[in-house]
Symmetry: C2
Subunit: 323 residues, 2 copies
């Protein structure tokens, strides 16, 4: 029942977006492609394949994050991640990216600096992006503050600079997303993300449930934009004791199509505890729990038992841009 309902909802949203996009564009491109074949099929899997991206955010932020995420990659059950270019440990993760060119590493475009004891600024000279900075000269602590103060032209310049800087470090990003969702806060910001992503021929995270939350979305999507089916993301309502059960249940419920589970990996160590000392949500212990689950035999087993295959943003980008 749940699968049927989800599939019906998914298809209707897909049709809605496709039709909306068609109404807005004079293009005769194959905009009905998404109706004829589902995303799994378009990616070369069977129509009912259950596909999962296990995506670790915040690479480059701290050594603890880099080390834990690389462990996740090595265990093989975390298969994608995105990098925060303005952060102090960029060089360390760039070294990894250069020596693992087939890794599925995107950019976690960064307009916030959220830990009170440990902070960073923009990539561009501060006087060129004054609207992105709080009184201390760092990026804002909160995504809402960042979005409400941001001059969109400065945002565009900064995220272009982050992409350029990543490339100058030898990172060839496979996708773009937005740290703390700042670029999903307003239509103008999301349009900026979409424009920059398209120009760079990179996919960005759009999923069906966003359409309900972002009512402007259909008006700015194009037929070729790929919409994944679902995102799984834990939240502070889950107790530490309930962590593995939450993820296990969520993964058992994965439906055909492409699901992304967004995880935050780090060690519960001195560096991470100090960074997150006043913010247990997404803090050190939280990230250790994510690391423990997503490198566990339990996770491997639930993937196998539910015939879930791992896919990457690289594959989605190839489909979207015909690389």
């Amino acid at each position: 029942m749940r699968r049927t309902l989800f599939a019906a909802l998914g298809i209707s949203l897909c049709v809605f977006i496709t039709l909306f996009a068609q109404a807005k564009t004079p293009s005769s491109r194959p905009i009905l492609q998404a109706e004829k074949t589902n995303l799994a099929e378009r990616l070369g899997y069977s129509r009912d394949a259950k596909l999962l991206i296990v995506h670790a955010d915040d690479l480059g932020m701290a050594h603890s994050v880099n080390a834990a995420t690389i462990k996740g990659f090595e265990v093989g059950l975390v298969n994608s991640g995105s990098i925060m270019v303005p952060c102090p440990w960029l060089s360390e993760i760039a070294t990894y990216a250069r020596s693992h060119p087939q890794s599925d590493l995107g950019l976690h475009l960064t307009l916030t600096s959220e830990w009170t004891s440990f902070r960073w600024g923009p990539v561009l000279p501060k006087d060129r992006v004054a609207s992105l900075l709080d009184k201390s000269g760092y990026l804002y602590l909160l995504e809402t503050e960042a979005a409400s103060h941001a001059n969109v032209k400065e945002v565009e310049a900064e995220i272009r600079a982050q992409i350029e800087r990543a490339r100058s470090f030898g990172i060839q990003p496979t996708h773009l997303d937005s740290h703390m969702g700042t670029l999903y806060q307003t239509k103008e910001l999301f349009e900026t993300l979409l424009r920059v992503a398209r120009e760079n021929k990179l996919p960005t995270r759009i999923f069906r449930d966003q359409i309900a939350a972002m009512d402007y979305l259909p008006s700015i999507l194009k037929p070729e934009d790929i919409i994944i089916d679902r995102v799984i993301s834990i939240d502070p309502s889950v107790t530490p004791e309930g962590w593995a059960k939450f993820y296990t249940d969520a993964i058992k419920s994965v439906q055909p199509g492409v699901t992304e589970v967004i995880v935050h990996l780090a060690y519960d160590d001195a560096e991470m505890r100090a960074a997150t000392h006043d913010h247990p949500d997404w803090g050190a212990a939280w990230r250790q729990r994510d690391l423990d689950f997503f490198t566990s035999d339990g996770f491997r087993k639930v993937l196998q038992e539910n015939q879930i295959k791992l896919v990457t943003w690289r594959e989605i980008g190839k489909l979207q841009y015909g690389r």
Copy 2:
């Protein structure tokens, strides 16, 4: 014998500097003060008092450095330190500084970013201090590179900005020094440091042995500049097994006057190991050894047995600027 020789050398250098400075300045200020009374006496101690500043460098660089140095302060045997304003953990140490306003915290003016995996840029907008940046847009890895590329006007602007930024974080610095000695590399750079220090009424580290290495020094010192007597600093020729013996012997040899021992405290933990992974000199294990010694009963005992008192840059600044 050693003490006599050192004292004679010290006095002769002091006379030399004083006379040289007198020749260069028309001032009738009490330039012979340093001859009449030694520094210990001027600070209010007996003429033969052995005074020691135990100074921890690199605060703000990493959480590991902050935590270890704060431990040193709490144990009470480390009594001074200096902060790197451009570094990512500035906020954490600024919180400590605000809640411990009597701490002897200066600024470790920073023109280098020396760890390959973990880096930082300047305080000023990058386009205003282009000569301070390497190709990656960070401060140079090496002090020699930094000094050879630096435009002195940009250096002056950047170190003024570091002081201003520290104050905006509620840090009231008691002294200035130079990370990796970059500002001691050329006469022009040192003159810049001296000018900025004097304008801010802050003492900066000058010690007698520098005069031999920096032949221009007498020409730019003024009578009121305070020259401490000696600096103790361990170097890579000391084996880990010889660490405590090196410091113990050095402290036993402390002469009357003011000596500064420059230490680098951190934990030998994951963060610090990753930061210093390709640079064992001044690396994680090195800093743990420093932490172990300077919080040890052995250090406390050698101070007591040799009647060595701890003094601070705050006291020197009060003397120099009559605060």
